[in-house]
Symmetry: C2
């Protein structure tokens, strides 16, 4: 039962990183604050953490932040000039060769390079000039959970330090614990989603990053076609997919996008969609068919981390509804060695 | 029949932009070559063109290139500092308010701003310091075709000019004409895809941008769950979706990724997937269940433009197989006013 126990472990791994990583974050944040631009290289769940990091580095630290296209290094041999910028590579195992290749290219250009990894001694850890270690112990489940949330926290610590405006993490472990304890709500929503073969997962702004990871977890564990969209892009075509009865899972927190989330939920229900939410917004929860309502608030910028913990339970229970064991997802390997 | 006629018009609109836009491209390319970083703001098909542009600007002009998160401007009021960089906004109508908002924020920072649009007098055209006009006449079909391919060509012209290394476009209009004439092949593949409710669309490197747009066209026109992936990311979980019989559409050109595409196609067929390709690679075409084989070569960097033209036919015919009129896609509007 490594998946379930690693989901439950997250409040503790978060607290450990926040305590033990603070000095590293301040040191590396000061270096990052001088970068003219930032690139984040990652795959899979780590790439979803990277998207969350992009919002924080652009919105908080005000640094233009790109997502690396590793094939430009590994296939074409034509990386951009990373000079005067910084590159962060994220890989829990540190064994992703294409992420290391991007870091190596950036280091040749004299850029600041940072590895966010759970294994400082890995190839990625050795390739980068600096390592920010996730400190969350070995992750045994195939699906990333605690390494995903600690990667997000590492990025939030770095972005806050780079901005000279550290985020307030005080409530985060307790809010994550509430999300861990929301399993019965997640299981109930999974029952209502039932055996639908397809699912739309929506978020906006910071919530979009959470939607990406929630959708990936559902795909990995349940093999359901869970498509993530920014609710802004959703109007551009993908909305056409919303047949009557297609379930929608909306990840949304109080804050700058709350009114939009509420009216989107109402509009989708009018179109006949079944809408479920993972949210800290009681008003939104009352407008949808069912919700995981999280009452502890951590602020909109940290909310995606909490929403994803609750979504991990939904994904695991959707998998069970499809007769799949979330502890043993088929067709996946823990470390993916794409070059 | 505006969709079909606009698909057919693309070799001519491409030739016109290449001829009439050359001076603009050189002038703006020289300005772009001085940018320390680049951000591209766009939605929908234009955002798929932006992804293609990212590969060219990073791979050819060597400028780190980010995708804008417009909500940071329109919802949070916290854009990154665009100073010393450039921002390109892409919108065929020029009426996308969030794209204009990103351009306006960049202009306030003193960054170089360029609008790529079919309407120079639009809000986007007025917001940007410079306009690169698509010159392709009004697009009447709901689904973008000629404005997508001319946006890609505009980006390729700008990236080549910024690199001081213009691409060779000489064969492009004729290659696009061959793709227009591939409609019977596209219709045949659509018949074979049949009424599958889900489809995986794959590409790698430059071909990934083409996969994004092919998948969006299929979603928009046919309401089929067409999920695009980089074949590199595909191993990270989404591969778990490949049940026996799930059709795969692979967009791949000769070049740096050709061996990978061939072995991926073989591996997926071994797993029981039906694999279809749109390609200029005869060897790949022989390894899959069926292919649109395009014999004219334009080089790997321009190939996505040609592959997408052939994919437009596939999308329209998949729509017909589902009893939908691709000329009148339901639930879509031509101009999407997301803020």
């Amino acid at each position: 039962m490594s998946l379930r126990s690693e989901i439950a472990e997250q409040p503790a791994t978060a607290a450990r990183l926040l305590a033990e990583g603070a000095a590293d974050a301040n040191r590396l944040g000061a270096l990052l604050s001088r970068a003219k631009h930032l690139t984040v290289a990652a795959r899979g769940s780590s790439d979803n953490a990277a998207t969350y990091g992009k919002y924080l580095f652009e919105g908080l630290a005000r640094i233009v932040t790109a997502s690396a296209a590793p094939s430009l290094v590994t296939r074409y041999g034509t990386p951009p000039r990373y000079t005067s910028g910084a590159v962060i590579g994220i890989s829990q195992s540190g064994a992703a060769p294409d992420v290391s290749a991007v870091i190596a290219a950036a280091r040749r250009d004299g850029a600041l390079t940072i590895a966010i990894t759970n294994r400082a001694s890995s190839a990625l850890g050795r390739a980068a000039e600096h390592v920010f270690e996730l400190r969350c112990g070995p992750e045994r489940a195939i699906a990333a959970t605690k390494t995903y949330t600690t990667s997000c926290i590492a990025l939030a610590m770095l972005a806050g330090a780079a901005a000279g405006q550290p985020l307030d993490f005080a409530e985060l472990p307790d809010a994550m614990r509430e999300a861990v304890e929301s399993e019965p709500d997640g299981a109930r929503i999974a029952r209502k989603i039932g055996s639908a073969r397809a699912l739309v997962v929506l978020g906006r702004g910071y919530g979009y990053a959470a939607a990406l990871e929630a959708a990936l977890k559902i795909k990995e564990l349940a093999r359901v076609w869970a498509e993530p969209y920014s609710s802004a892009d959703f109007a551009h075509g993908p909305r056409a997919l919303l047949e009557r009865g297609t379930p929608v899972l909306l990840l949304a927190a109080r804050g700058a996008t709350e009114r939009e989330a509420r009216s989107l939920a109402a509009a989708m229900r009018e179109r006949g969609a079944r809408v479920y939410a993972i949210t800290d917004d009681q008003t939104l929860a009352a407008k949808v068919d069912d919700a995981v309502l999280l009452r502890r608030r951590v602020g909109e910028l940290l909310s995606p981390i909490v929403l994803v913990v609750a979504a991990q339970h939904v994904a695991a229970h959707v998998a069970r509804r499809h007769g799949r064991d979330p502890e043993k997802p088929a067709g996946l390997s823990k470390v993916t060695r794409t070059l």
